[in-house]
């Protein structure tokens, strides 16, 4: 019975990791850019939500809605004015610039908010739970998981059903030819990063309400996102969800055996997948 509960908690935690990973996966899929500041941007969004909650007294969910367009603008500008300049054949400039950005965001947040652990309080919904037969699940973890599913369904609809999505796919395949067809790759890239920041804001909402965070929490969120992407296989958003679930279950099972093993167990699951299925469990992309 206890084990069933552990696994359920792991699956729900996996939803959070899939939310961390979806933005990373989207940006990589469209412009082959790995943003090393992704985790720090999640933490930045969490602080933005925190500021909206504490200064305006808004409900965290409303705050996240307010934060979304702001984060979209930040992502759009970041891509258009900074990261677009680094894209090219050489993978060194984007990696080093986003690594620099990660350090800048971390230390900017440290300067602005100190190193204290923070948390966004969501009220009574935090402790509410539902009875699912033999196990109980918290409302917030359930919402996290279903938000992840909704985000993935939404992104897939966007990518495969709309004209923006067609432009995304065309630019991903061949930016030069897409440019000849009247698409401006620079703007498509900016739009994609903006969209990724909207997903990051959703992830930040559940990160901030679930547990404590501080300005240096970013790098480990990046690592979880990355592990979920690689376990699932590049290019598949549903694979990313599966990767997040595997990571989440590995962590909760590890923690159930020995609390010190939680993070380690997740990393070992990742290395195991890399050992036996180097291209991930559900690979789609050729690269």
């Amino acid at each position: 019975m206890n084990w069933l509960d552990t696994i359920l908690q792991g699956v729900l935690l996996g939803g959070l990791y899939a939310l961390f990973a979806a933005g990373l996966s989207l940006v990589f899929g469209i412009m082959r850019l790995v943003n090393l500041a992704h985790g720090d941007l999640i933490v930045l969004a969490a602080f933005l939500i925190l500021v909206l909650v504490t200064t305006l007294g808004l409900n965290p969910f409303i705050s996240a809605l307010v934060a979304m367009p702001l984060m979209f603008a930040i992502g759009w500008a970041l891509q258009y004015f900074l990261l677009n300049r680094t894209l090219g054949k050489d993978i060194l400039p984007p990696l080093l610039v986003t690594f620099g950005l990660s350090i800048v965001i971390q230390n900017g947040l440290l300067e602005g908010f100190s190193a204290d652990s923070r948390r966004v309080f969501a009220g009574s919904i935090e402790s509410a739970s539902v009875n699912l037969g033999p196990v109980t699940a918290g409302i917030m973890p359930l919402m996290t998981f279903f938000s992840a599913v909704a985000v993935i369904v939404g992104l897939n609809q966007l990518i495969y059903r709309t004209s923006v999505g067609r432009a995304f796919r065309a630019t991903s395949d061949d930016p030069v030819t897409a440019g000849l067809m009247g698409i401006r790759p620079q703007r498509i890239f900016a739009m994609a990063t903006g969209l990724a920041m909207v997903v990051v804001t959703i992830a930040a909402l559940y990160l901030g309400t679930r547990a404590n965070f501080d300005p240096t929490s970013g790098p480990s969120r990046l690592i979880y996102a990355f592990e979920a992407v690689i376990i699932g296989g590049l290019g598949s958003l549903w694979g990313t969800l599966a990767g997040g679930i595997i990571l989440g279950v590995a962590q909760t099972v590890g923690a159930a055996i020995n609390p010190e093993w939680q993070i380690l167990a997740g990393h070992l699951a990742f290395l195991g997948v890399l050992l036996f299925k180097p291209r991930g469990l559900f690979p789609r992309a050729v690269d």
Binding site: L36, V104, N107, L110, I223, E227, L274
Partner: protein, 361 residues
């Protein structure tokens, strides 16, 4: 009428390099004499500069020449340091010997690490190395004999009775702590000479030419018979060896270890990346210039706490965008001066080819 075919020679030497070789020898003699000339505080600063230079040269070889952009080199710094602590505390090995053992153990760690991370495509390799560093940190934090998560200290007797310390006390009349600092400083100096010598030798050799070819165009290099994967693996293992030694040496001097400090991304990777990027990636001179600038900035801005790191990050971004070959690259492009030339220049013959070709061979 036949035209005499002029004879060609391929050279890498430049006039500046001959001059700089003499200047370097003079500078090294001075550096070896430093413990007799300057105070202990200065020696400790120089030790910091030298060890950061070793880490920077290694990262530069990885990222600038082999195209392996790692953000997980702290794995080898920390593992080297912990191996040294383990050998000294658990087996009573002399710290100087333990430093060498640490290098070997780091290579042993690098073999499985390479096996995993080399499966990851370009940018994901970077995060993969980071995951490995985290795994090693979490595993070592479980090792209760070495203090677990809180860490431990080297026994005082171990550093006081290191090989050479007693001899230096008798010969130069130094105190034990002074002799210890001088010894670690000399070891760091030797490590810098060995590292720069190794990298310079490698880049001027046939293997170095292959490495540059792989970096510039992997497919073309493979087509002419360069085994890219083997070259990259060898560079990865060699840098793991030197980085492990550097990590152990740094922690002989610190004499106190904890998993969070020994595997710090900021201290052993972020600083190192900024040193290389600011100085000039893909040159041997770049990290040397970078480490001097880094040291000056750190002393000027140390009181500003996180502002300092924030500015370092912005400086790194600005340089990557506007001067991707760093400050040394700017200087070298303007003046043509190379202190460690690795570019092959064709001399003689009817054509003046001295200014053709890519930056490094």
């Amino acid at each position: 009428m036949t035209m005499a075919i002029p004879s060609f020679t391929v050279e890498t030497r430049t006039r500046a390099s001959t001059l700089s070789a003499m200047a370097v020898i003079a500078l090294l003699l001075l550096a070896f004499a430093a413990p007799f000339i300057v105070s202990r505080g200065v020696i400790q600063d120089l030790f910091f500069i030298l060890t950061m230079l070793v880490l920077a040269q290694n990262w530069n070889l990885l990222a600038g020449y082999a195209g392996l952009i790692s953000v997980g080199q702290q794995a080898f710094v920390g593992f080297g340091a912990y191996t040294m602590f383990g050998a000294v505390i658990l087996f009573g090995v002399d710290p100087v010997v333990a430093i060498l053992i640490a290098g070997l153990f780091s290579v042993a760690l690098a073999i499985p690490t390479a096996f995993f991370t080399f499966r990851l495509y370009g940018p994901y390799f970077a995060i993969g190395t980071w995951v490995v560093a985290e795994v090693v940190r979490l595993l070592l934090a479980q090792w209760k004999a070495l203090g677990g998560g809180t860490g431990t200290s080297l026994p005082r007797e171990a550093t006081r009775e290191m090989i050479g310390v007693n001899m230096m006390r008798d010969l130069f009349g130094m105190k034990a702590s002074e002799a210890g600092d001088a010894l670690t400083y000399w070891l760091a100096l030797i490590l810098v000479i060995a590292t720069v010598g190794f990298i310079y030798g490698l880049l001027r050799s046939k293997q170095g030419l292959g490495l540059a070819a792989v970096r510039d165009n992997e497919q073309a290099a493979r087509a002419v018979g360069v085994d890219a994967r083997r070259m990259k693996t060898l560079v990865y293992l060699a840098t793991a060896f030197i980085t492990g030694i550097a990590g152990a040496l740094i922690y002989v001097q610190k004499a106190r270890i904890s998993p969070d400090a020994a595997f710090s991304v900021t201290d052993w990777t972020a600083y190192v990346i900024f040193i290389v990027v600011i100085g000039g990636i893909g040159t041997i001179e770049g990290p040397i210039l970078g480490v001097i600038i880094f040291f000056l900035l750190q002393n000027l801005l140390a009181d500003f706490g996180s502002w300092y790191l924030l500015m370092l990050g912005l400086l790194g971004i600005a340089i990557m965008l506007f001067a991707p070959r760093g400050l040394w690259g700017l200087f070298s492009d303007r003046t043509g001066i190379q202190l460690f030339p690795v570019r092959r220049v064709l001399k003689g013959g009817p054509l003046n080819l001295t200014h053709k070709g890519g930056p490094h061979g």
